[in-house]
Symmetry: C2
Amino acid sequence: MKHWDTVAVVGVGLIGGSIGLDLLRGGLAQRVVGIGRRPASLKVALRRGCVSETTTNLEQGVAEAELVIVCTPVGRILTDILTAAPACMPGALITDVGSTKQSIVAGTRGKLPVGVTFVGSHPIAGSEKSGAAAALEGLFVKRTTVVTPTDETPEKAVLTIERFWKSLGSRVVRMTPEAHDEALAATSHVPHVVAAALAGATPAEILGLTAGGWLDSTRIAAADSQLWLEILTDNRRQVVAGLKKVEGRLAAFRKALDAGDDAALQTLLDEGRARREAARGKPKATVK
Amino acid sequence: MKHWDTVAVVGVGLIGGSIGLDLLRGGLAQRVVGIGRRPASLKVALRRGCVSETTTNLEQGVAEAELVIVCTPVGRILTDILTAAPACMPGALITDVGSTKQSIVAGTRGKLPVGVTFVGSHPIAGSEKSGAAAALEGLFVKRTTVVTPTDETPEKAVLTIERFWKSLGSRVVRMTPEAHDEALAATSHVPHVVAAALAGATPAEILGLTAGGWLDSTRIAAADSQLWLEILTDNRRQVVAGLKKVEGRLAAFRKALDAGDDAALQTLLDEGRARREAARGKPKATVK
């Protein structure tokens, strides 16, 4: 793997901080410039060794970087890319870690200076925790990162970004931004809504009787609401379609129960079990 | 705590096996008789130290026990209680560990010989694993056990059963069978259906893109379908009502997304998050 001289990480939270930790501890980069809006957060990232220097000035922070990784919340990624790009060196590569890809990729089209290339990425890793304090070395090991080039993205840039993720231990999958957003609606965005709905539907006075299943099923509902609002609204159409599918399946369960159709109920339970078991052999996309 | 001379455990799986382990290793019982239908399962329980002797004959197994704990699947508990009771010593206590309580408690009413008392229990502990091989010492420590007497249950028997669960480290809550089944529909049975629906609604070809949220949210869907069929059908009315609530909340999410009503979406997310956070301070009902 190419060793980087300077990498800029825009937004040094759980993901950005973990990338920086891997780059510095693994000797993959000489310098990692941490760029953020809040000096207190930057201080945490520096103290934890996630970055080697920090700045609150985006343009200055990216000026000497061959690679810029935008790790801000989904609702701010496009703006940060478009602000950073004119300040980048010729030949610089920009990628991101956003949980949605269509709007970000489309938004950069024709908007970047000549010599600066964007390749969308989504490392499927994280947790309900946030901030550089929660950053983990090896967060991406054996996880999956989706890289989403378009027909116009130079193949060389795509390969470099793919190699970058592989250097952090990630498995890489190449998809169109559209296919990514449809798949992630089903595997991540809809599950988030389901967890929040399940938690919200449970009366407060019986929370002491929750079982391990409830605690597991609702874990992700504890994540930052604002971040998830941005993800859900950015992938609105696909999430709505995915929710309809889950609602339909819940209604099928309810009708089978209500009608005393135990054979249908058994089939529905078996289908869920089989799908869950099938996922076990797959690479884990996220840490617990 | 009273030390038992002989305790009979009917059905030596994860729960029954864990009870036996605690009784024997903690010196709380001289003998634990493991009763089951399959000699192979009894052999595992014996080898693991969950029981001190075994038999496939229910009547013989309970004959010398002061305490009989029925740990068979929900669909078989009532039959096992009614079969065991006439073979019990005068003064014997019978309890169970079923995930539903109304039908079991009602089914024993007026059906037990004089001198034999039944008190329903539900230790809210377990995992998606099953069998004595998965039994754990201390499974009930800091978990909650619901004890469900009726107006006719002698207080002395209720207190003895409550002390029994406390001796295994469990917290004890007393509820009516009806209140239990309504609460557990919301905290356990409905979450199971939701997990199975979510898993079943995810296309097989994108399971490699599942995130930690999906894996957590669907974990319980991997549990034994037959066991859950029995639980769900035994608590049919409450589960149907609980599912309607979750479906309504999912529809509210979908409509807010579809209508671009981000304020409503934020409120729904915040409500789910607050309920999840509120559960953190509660005693955990189940092992991970």
